[in-house]
Symmetry: C2
Subunit: 598 residues, 2 copies
């Protein structure tokens, strides 16, 4: 039998998600895995599963005794080929949960393709198992329809991203994986060269310099769904290799990049969530975000914004308010924030560095409870007006070093937002953050470090500050934030050799080091560099948001553990002594007889 | 000004390939590079270039004195922004070679974006330069329109491949780059693990096992435009990293794979060459290809096929014909193969191992010239009939070890085909080769080695030969060959644990080694493996054929040299001692002060 539908092959006429009553009476061939098996008196039923769905097969000894006998030996995850006739299920036996629930296939012939040992966990039951076991048998875990659908969505997402950029005449340009150290500041994975002993390639932390070189080469509009690598001490939701939607454009300013980046999100929200994202996206400066939300990636699905009340706080008699930054936010009466919840705040913030959270309630008479007694009576109305509170509201206060107050109140605010359900699960609050500082102080060295990366252009109007007060210089950088999560960001780049050298210099790179690390790039900047800029979004992260997954590992087909091991393959692993010798490498003493990872 | 066409940005209203007489009188903003500059009396003309084309800009002191003065300082590759008015060129001044040749832009305002030092080679002249210089300044070489168009075609090719598979419900699944040694038999690039000292990841030589695991996971139809890595002693046209169109399908046989693989080529030939490829493609067995063309990738744009004449040859008195294999082929009269060309054949084949090429001419009387005198008269007619020759034809003979005869005559045949123009440059001769042997003898070890790879299924009807005469077993493998070049190939895979173990065993892998290297895969084969198969085509190679490029480096945006160095980035290069220490690695003594590669 030859193709009747696009999935038909020499071994099947139909997939297991496609048959309906209209096919009744048709002889079909199907292939798949035994999902469930039930013995009912003389009849055997199996739910046969493939990627596309589940169809019930009936083995009736009156129809075909051979296959009925063979079916007695079928077990979960056996892979089989069935020839049979589609027929409607008997009255009352339909399964409304299945697309194919009104029919079944009466088996005329059964062929075993491969038997299965008992799987280490149940697939039909979508059994939750320890992550190590699931990752070791990833190929079985991926048979679970729910996980398979997440991976399918990720793949569809990549396709939609490509379609979007293709329609806008961006070319997807493949940049090398065997490359040179990149400047993202994380640790590089390195690859020893056999031909050049003692030399190493580096795997790219991002294609940053390649995409800028593409602009210098005149490619005009670049994008790539690019694999990136970082040898970090992994946090729970990082992977040593991850995938980035990487974009660069020539002859643009920030508004052009914003159009393309937000346009992409409009496209994806419509396609995957049927959600109409408004354009232009809400804008917020870095300064405002830090002031009002204590974070450069504020979750704007709900308000609870902060008010800084330093001078007012100094006039109270509350000791912790006498120095540092004092910020507060109002939890409105309708949130019904209980006394025990208020008391819980202090414990909650402690891990973020704040010693406690002060509070007051608001009544029609003024402030009461908590630290109200430290406020002179004439200040009550003033504070209530300043923070725009109403009777029944609770005001929460944090005081201390600015960074600690911001970080603690940001976490507290988001904790309350989530715990008190101040937004619906389907809300999407995008915000385009601009006006980041170009530089920050590196706590380790005390010198300047880039907030984004060293190729970010300073804002023209701040150029003279570069000489006087570099920390005040703003960058031509931007981030797109959704629900408190950074989807990605980018910048307009430096396109001038002298400016690039000046920035390297500010970052403490001597001309010699700059030449060694980035000489090729400084040289490239000398031949008519266009004005250019771009952005990068995390594909894995967007897939995670669209599938409402708890971990990035759910949307990566073959992920590694949080400790960068591939449990399925048992990688990394040992290599032969001969191979190391060819690479002119030796291991530190005593290492070579270690056991493998898995 | 805001977008009027899809390429408009904040800095330009039009690109440099789009303006026509219909735009006359329009004020426009454009950006690009100074391609050529001409001073004509009071007027200055520049050809301004971007990715999309070239447009002439006129600087007229009567229109804008400031920009005219500034234009005097413009040099090649300066990057500029021009505001001006589109106007028709004067009579007789049109340039029919340019799409925009009927108009020019009268400059009203000129802004220098970036100056350029004198480039190391001319871009406007498409100057041919040494490859090392061109690769060092790849970003400038890529500004040459001809090279840029090749890269653009490559990118368009990748898009068309994706569209083809997307339309057929294949999912593009990203498989890891940090993985475990793969079995392709070349040397792996390895990546030291910091977290697991003494252990290494390997970069994939292909996603072979991952795509098979995708089938075991039930993904049904996989494809990927996949980066692959091989640490080979590079031949002229190999790269340490290359790109593969990688495909796998479940529940299929050879005919299904052929439909998809050849269907892809039909799609690409139509799209890029407007050529209608016939389906089904011509088929040929490995045996026939070797017999008639001495190669498993015969160039079928022309005939000159071989006839094996061992027994006939033995009856001559020509000493070299008394042992080994004797093959001959006929160069027809119309080819006009001269005596000096005939004499050149012997020199030509010597590098391929054959000591010489014998020849005879055919006349109406019989054979003459060359070795004709060694043929008994009664044999002339018999030979002429056997090889189907006519008067005026030349017959060329090779004798010796089969492999040497095949290799030498194959090269000679193709050399004659090319030199005597036996086909047109636009001919496309596809052939689908089947019936490869499963195993061959490894000349180094004397043991069996896989012809394709160890996961290739033997042909069912040859299964019993596995025990008796393994070299006779044919594989369920296939290659697609175009004009004598292997585009790619694949196989139906082993889907049975016991068979896979048997093949490993034949290949000399002890159960212990098999378990260490492929234990994860043998385990995966135990849980209901579907029948599956696939193929892989070289994307770089197809791009090279479509663009008629001489080297693979012309269709790779940022290629490495034949010695695996990136001259632009100066990679590979040294890493800090600290970084090696973190990886528990040491270099062999005396290595660390070597200079860098570039």
């Amino acid at each position: 039998m030859k193709p009747q539908n696009p999935f038909a092959t020499s071994l099947r006429t139909h997939t297991l998600g496609s048959l309906t009553e209209l096919d009744s009476g048709t002889m079909v061939e199907v292939c798949g895995w035994v999902h469930k098996r039930r013995d009912h008196g003389g009849l055997i039923f199996i739910d046969l599963r493939d990627k596309f769905g589940i169809t019930q097969i009936v083995f009736d000894p009156g129809v075909d005794a051979t296959s009925h006998t063979a079916a007695e030996r079928l077990r979960s995850e056996y892979c089989v080929h069935v020839t049979g006739k589609v027929r409607p299920r008997g009255p009352g036996l339909e399964n409304p949960k299945l697309k194919t629930g009104k029919i079944e296939i009466e088996c005329h012939s059964l062929t075993l393709i491969s038997a299965s040992e008992t799987p280490p966990f149940q697939i039909a039951e979508e059994e939750t198992v320890g992550e190590d076991l699931a990752l070791t048998y990833r190929y079985l875990d991926l048979r679970k329809p729910k996980l398979a659908q997440k991976i399918a969505l990720r793949n569809a997402l990549a396709w939609e991203v490509r379609s979007y950029f293709h329609a806008r005449a961006f070319e997807e340009i493949e940049t090398p994986i065997l490359t040179k150290s990149t400047p993202e500041g994380s640790r590089d994975y390195i690859v020893p060269s056999r031909i050049y002993p003692g030399n190493f390639y580096a795997l790219p932390q991002s294609p940053q310099l390649y995409k800028q070189l593409c602009m210098i080469a005149g490619f005009d509009r670049y994008f790539q769904i690019a694999r990136c690598f970082r040898d970090e001490d992994l946090r729970a939701d990082r992977q040593p290799e991850f995938t980035q939607i990487d974009v660069e454009m020539s002859f643009v300013d920030e508004s052009d990049i914003e159009d393309v980046a937000c346009g992409l999100m409009v496209h994806l929200c419509k396609r995957f969530l049927n959600y109409d994202m408004d354009l232009p996206a809400r804008h917020m400066s870095y300064g405002t975000a830090m002031e009002k939300y204590g974070s450069d990636r504020p979750d704007l699905r709900f308000d609870l914004s902060f008010t800084r009340i330093d001078s007012l706080a100094r006039r109270t008699e509350f000791a912790p308010f006498q120095k540092g930054v004092v910020k507060c936010f109002v939890v409105p009466a309708h949130v019904e924030f209980s006394r025990s919840e208020i008391d819980g705040c202090a414990d909650f913030v402690r891990v973020f560095g704040l010693e406690g959270v002060a509070w007051t309630r608001v009544t029609t008479e003024g402030l009461t409870g908590g630290i109200a007694k430290f406020f002179p009576p004439e200040m009550h109305a003033e504070l209530i007006e300043t923070v725009n509170a109403k009777a029944g509201d609770v005001i929460l206060y944090g005081a201390g070093k600015e960074q600690v107050v911001n970080q603690s109140l940001d976490h507290l605010r988001r904790h309350i937002g989530a715990a008190k359900k101040l937004y619906s699960e389907n809300d999407l609050a995008f915000v385009w953050i601009t006006g980041f500082p170009l530089l920050e102080l590196d706590p380790e060295t005390g010198g300047f470090a880039s907030v984004h990366h060293p190729f970010t252009s300073p804002l023209y109007e701040d150029l003279e500050l570069l000489e006087i007060d570099p920390l005040k210089v703003r960058a031509r950088a931007y981030d797109l934030v959704l629900n408190g999560i950074e989807l990605g960001g980018g910048s307009i780049r430096i396109h001038d050799n002298a400016m690039q050298q000046k920035i390297f210099n500010l970052l403490g790179l001597t001309p010699e080091i700059a030449a060694r690390k980035f000489g090729f790039f400084l040289r490239a900047l000398k031949y008519g560099t266009p004005i250019h800029g771009g952005f990068a979004f995390g594909l894995d992260r967007i897939a995670m948001l669209l599938t409402k997954s708890a971990s990035i590992r759910e949307v990566i087909p073959f992920p590694k553990t949080a400790k960068a091991a591939d449990l399925m393959l048992d990688a990394p692993s040992h290599v032969d002594e001969k191979q190391l010798k060819e690479l002119s490498l030796r291991l530190e003493k005593g290492l070579h007889n270690f056991g493998n990872v898995g």
